[in-house]
């Protein structure tokens, strides 16, 4: 059964863990220590390591996000950030003056403040089930941070976590092509001339990255 390919991918999970352990630790450039602790803890809950494949930590998603904060994107490139700023119906989209960097600063402060008020400890120090409850509350928008609705922060975080797990490793995440292998995505092969009409068959070649790394 083709579904076994997923199980086979799981067999490689410890390997990702091991290679992560032997890499020099990444020193974040944008996030300070408490923010970095939050990011690591939140990533581990959003994409946990489990029988389906590697988690966000083995894929170096926090590193990816920190690196993105150094790019023009992190500084709001491509977003129209001219005033005036007015809030409207949700379906009319994002209406805050903040760049991704601003959203992380404010959002993490807000999450940790909630964690401390409710549970006496910052987010990273809480039990996984409690962290999940807080993330769910943020997702549903039921927390209120100073200037950023919790759902806006959560969407920013979730989008970047998905990007970190599944983008080309050139951007700092998807370590060992673990995200792609888990999904069954062959990466930058980008040539299926000989497979387009092999109907229903499992694609036999493993993932490859832009730099030529193979899974």
């Amino acid at each position: 059964m083709q579904g076994l390919a997923g199980v086979a991918a799981c067999g490689t999970v410890p390997a990702f863990g091991a290679s992560a352990a032997t890499r020099p630790p990444y020193a974040p450039r944008f996030f300070n220590a408490p923010q970095w602790d939050f990011l690591i803890a939140a990533c581990a809950r959003l994409i946990p390591a489990d029988i389906h494949g590697p988690g966000a930590l083995a894929l170096d998603v926090p590193r990816f996000i920190d690196m993105q904060m150094q790019t023009p994107y992190g500084h709001g490139a491509g977003w129209y950030l001219a005033g005036p700023f007015m809030q409207g119906a949700d379906n009319l989209g994002y209406q805050l003056p903040y760049t991704p960097r601003d959203l992380y600063q404010r959002g993490i402060t807000g999450m940790n403040a909630h964690a401390t008020t409710r549970h006496g400890r910052p987010f990273a120090a809480l039990a996984p089930a409690v962290q999940d409850d807080l993330l769910r509350a943020a997702e549903q928008g039921s927390l209120v941070f100073d200037e950023v609705p919790s759902a806006v922060f959560f969407e920013q975080l979730l989008a970047n976590v998905m990007e970190g797990a599944f983008s080309d490793p050139i951007h700092g995440g998807n370590t060992g092509l673990g995200g792609w292998t888990m999904l069954g995505f062959p990466g930058a092969r980008a040539d299926f001339m000989d497979w387009v009409d092999r109907y229903g068959a499992h694609y036999p070649l493993g993932s490859v990255s832009i730099s030529g790394e193979r899974a």
Binding site: M86, N91, G93, E163, F185
Partner: protein, 595 residues
Amino acid sequence: MSGDARRLSPVDVVIVGGGWAGSIMAKEMTEAGRSVVMLERGPDRSTAADGAYPASIDELEGNFRYRLFQDLSKNTVTIRNNSQQTALPYRRMAAFLPGEGVGGAGLHWSGVHFRIAPDDLRLRSRVIEKYGRAFIPEGMNLQDYGVTYEELEPFFDKAEKVFGTSGEAYRVNGQVVGRGNVFAPSRSDHFPLPALKDVYTAHIFRKAAEEAGFHPYSLPAANASQQYVNPYGVQMGPCNFCGYCSGYACYMYSKASPNVNILPVLRRHPLFELRSSSHVLKVELDADGRRATGVTYLDADGQECMQPAEIVILAAFQFHNVRLMLLSGIGRPYDPARNEGVVGRNFVYQNVTTSTVWLDRGVETNQFIGAGGGGVAFDDFNSENFDHGPLGFVGGSPVWVNQAGVKPIGAAHVGGPPGTPRWGSAWKAGTIDTYRHSLRIDAHGANMAYRDVYLDLDPTWKDTCGQPLLRMTFDWKDNDIRMNRYVVDRIGDVAKAMDARQVHLVRREFGSPFDTRQYQTTHLGGGAVMGEDPGTSALNRYLQSWDVHNVFVIGANAFPQGTGYNPTGMVAALAYWAAHHIRVTYLAHPGPLAG
């Protein structure tokens, strides 16, 4: 024009925008011996630089950082659902993705390359003939294009040959010749290339649609199924279904683009000059406002320049064309209260929903394989191909599997079947299952035009040049929602013939407003429409301004209402049609071509 604008030496034709519309017009005008300057506000782009393998095969940069798209930080639109609301800026890319840079969105489109259903060109007349005037809902501005399929056919044919389009004809010169779309009108020639192979999901869909009693056909695709040399002498290579199509420059030189199919010839032409990083501010008019004298633009150094020209062609994309007309005072702005005026009138979109079918876990759907224009469709519920009488709505929808290549960040956002959380272990399991074993079916419906759906200038927000943003007032209407729901039920009929493990039919919901946060399509239309009545159209049937005869406005802005098809085949045919009449008549006798 401010006093310190640098006045440049005059040319015959100035073209605003370097996409399909602008490139076709530039080619035609240089063939007619006219000097042409093309002003494109974005950077110069080419396949060699922007489509290099493997660097360009990067989903984050292509589909999530919008490397080749419009820079919204400089210029965007505001959007609201109705005229009682305050429109708010479209601050981040989501619902639609306008292009920028040489080639426009044509460098990174998908390639679905349609003609138009003949009935759609005269939809108002056809609906009245078939169902009576009372059938048209209150508030719907249903109109005819003022041009027939027979008149446009040579230009559809020409565009397909320039694009190197792959497809299978049904009828050529009245004879049935193949297994193409039985509802398509007769053609003067076959497609230049045979249809692309079906990917697996399209193959499954074709079989199931047939079993359900419908008439599937291969989508016409401007993705070359074989090596090809177009009439301009440029070469295309065969598409390898790389899956990085929509949002990317094609590294195989297989997807038609202005950059591959037209510009290589133009760039060498002595009468042609391309100026990139040149942002046009407005069209300058003479004292009585009846003739354009040229355009004012900011050059790459931010210097304001006035480019004098005998003919001004706006080819800046649908809504940028409308905005430039409003900023320049060309044509009477639309007033929704009185349903009068024409610039901004009949703004339309594409009415798409996507349903998902999960197959057995032993079957891999390999969704990463795909070509942007490839797939299988049926038209049984498109245009006037079915009896609307008992259904009580205007418009229709083709249905298709158009697997352009699903990539992993996109798949992560799609997630799992309904009810799956958006993160955590359950999300992982659902996403892996959906990615490996599902297929997606679109109802790609038409959106009709309504009196209270329109474009005008925003009173509050401005671009970095200090000019007002364009304001969109748009929402889905009951007629179009009912059409979508009827057609999605037919998708349900097809899914029943598929051995599905699970089916999730997605319908448009009544009362659920247009959501600017969800990607739909970049098939925006109308706003400066063509027609035979200057009271309801900004352009005559040759896409010439009724008011300023030396201004031609080329793009999907000319569509009086939406169609079930993707727009670019029609835009290209209209460009060749307008160019033909400029060449044959206007150049010798400048003046109004109609009326």
